[in-house]
Amino acid sequence: MNIITISWIGLPFFVGFVIFLLPQLDKYLAMFAALASAVYAFQLFALPAPVKLELLNHFGVTLAVDQLSAYFILTNALVTVAVILYCWHSGKTAFFYAQTIIVHGSLNAAFASTDFISLYVALEVSGIAAFLLIAYPRTDRSIWVALRYLFVSNTAMLFYLVGAVLVYKASYSFSFAGLGKAPPEAVALIFVGLLVKGGIFVSGLWLPLTHSESETPVSALLSGIVVKAGVYPLVKCALMVEHIDPIVRVFGVGTALLGVFYAVFEKDAKRMLAFHTVSQLGFILAAPEVGGFYALTHGLVKSALFLIAGALPSRNFKELQQNPMSTPIWIALVMASFSISGFPMLSGFGAKVLTMKNLLPWQVIGMNLAALGTAISFAKFIFLPHKQEGQGSIKPGFWSAVILLIGGLLVANVVYYEAYNINNIAKPLATIAIGWLAYLLIFKRTVIKLPRLLEQFDHLIGMMSLMLILLFWMVFDISIN
């Protein structure tokens, strides 16, 4: 298993560079590497014990893959396969496929690492490859959006590096477990880096512009899996180190509420989906033990939603009310929206029930409010008009990608089929009903434009210093009590 793990990590990078050498085989090589990852993830689920590797020796790189990382790895594989299927006939150059598979490989490395420096390398490589994907159209706007993303992420990672060396100073090793013995400033610095990379709470306000202004398959990839690379170490640290757990849970609730608050007032389809990513990542953080399953369902549903949003006639909800979309697209949209709102029969329901069962008492109200807000904002998609011969342009690879993702949502029900009993079904259905009622009565008519001040570049960077102070205060409080 050790050799298989090492070759699984190295394969996407090797394939990525071979794509530059053999550009005519780009799509097939990329698909091969992504499918190999999927096979590896399925193998991991079947393993009884986690795979632990210590490469070289005591000071070397340590890798550990277990059930939790298996969910993230499977999400990575499925989202990458769907994006490659979507782009199959769309004339993307070999460069695009190479960058996609390099993002995939670096995310695999992020989900397998258990020490801060391997994680740093994986996060930075994924940032660089994502930058190249976002800037692919080479327009001024896309270059600015990509530059902003790379700048913010690199600055946050510089803080993260200072935190990592403080962990080393305290415990002579860079592994995650050393976070327990580290001083509060180390935890604060590392968390600033991870919160910005993962798009959590106000540090994640770079996310809406970046994810909405990229091309459709790139948005699907970014929202579906790239941000989870920042969330996975937070979940892992919460599980390994006792006193970090409440901090991660607090950020889970805060993020969930902030994201839905912006999303219910949003008038642009892709921006609303991006704010939803911010909010749903909060659900993963709110219950760290079961975050893996939620990450899987969210990755599948969010990439499906972004691919579908790319096929709609317009991005503005008002225009979508006037121009009906074609019925098959509407059916796919409704299925995806049902899954994220927590409707039974789709695995989003199982994920939400599982998360709600694992919440601490003080989190319950906030997370239920966030679920209600989710139902309200996705009512905007569900109640759109449609007709048989509607407008909307569909790429050739669209249906294969969307069917794969939504089919995955249906199949993933087997993971938590215990969710299907009367008590569990009643609450989500009630939440969805109240959400739809609130949408039809209140939110359909409200036109409130929330200020975008905090999304400006200077404010994003400045917010990092505020988050540092907030985090330092939180960790210091917990370590004193």
Partner: protein, 112 residues
């Protein structure tokens, strides 16, 4: 103590430069200053135990510096350098339409 203060002052200068400078190239240079500070901090931590290059040879010294942070930050230096190259290429392309490279102008033109 003094060295740590100087290193943190470098990091803070770089950080404030990113926020306060208006020109995009100056922002990138400030990020370079910040990353120089981080690299210097790693080398400082590596020199806690000793100052001799940790290469085993005939001369037996004993007070070797710690090689692990030095190795780690080599990766950091390379990554920081490649990110700067990519950002400067992006800035070159933006400079064709916005020659003054003021970040708020570029932001206003390119944010819907």
């Amino acid at each position: 103590m003094l060295e740590e203060a100087c290193v943190f002052a470098t990091i803070l200068c770089g950080f404030f430069g990113i926020i306060l400078k208006k020109n995009l190239v100056m922002k990138i240079i400030s990020m370079d200053v910040m990353s120089t500070g981080v690299i210097a901090y790693y080398v400082l931590i590596a020199s806690r135990k000793g100052l001799f290059t940790p290469i085993v040879s005939d001369v037996n010294n004993g007070t070797y510096a710690d090689p692990v942070p030095q190795a780690v930050i080599l990766t950091g230096i390379v990554i920081g350098f490649s990110i700067q190259c990519l950002m400067l290429v992006g800035v070159m392309k933006l400079a064709q339409d916005n020659p003054t490279l003021e970040s708020n102008e570029i932001e206003n033109n390119n944010t819907p």
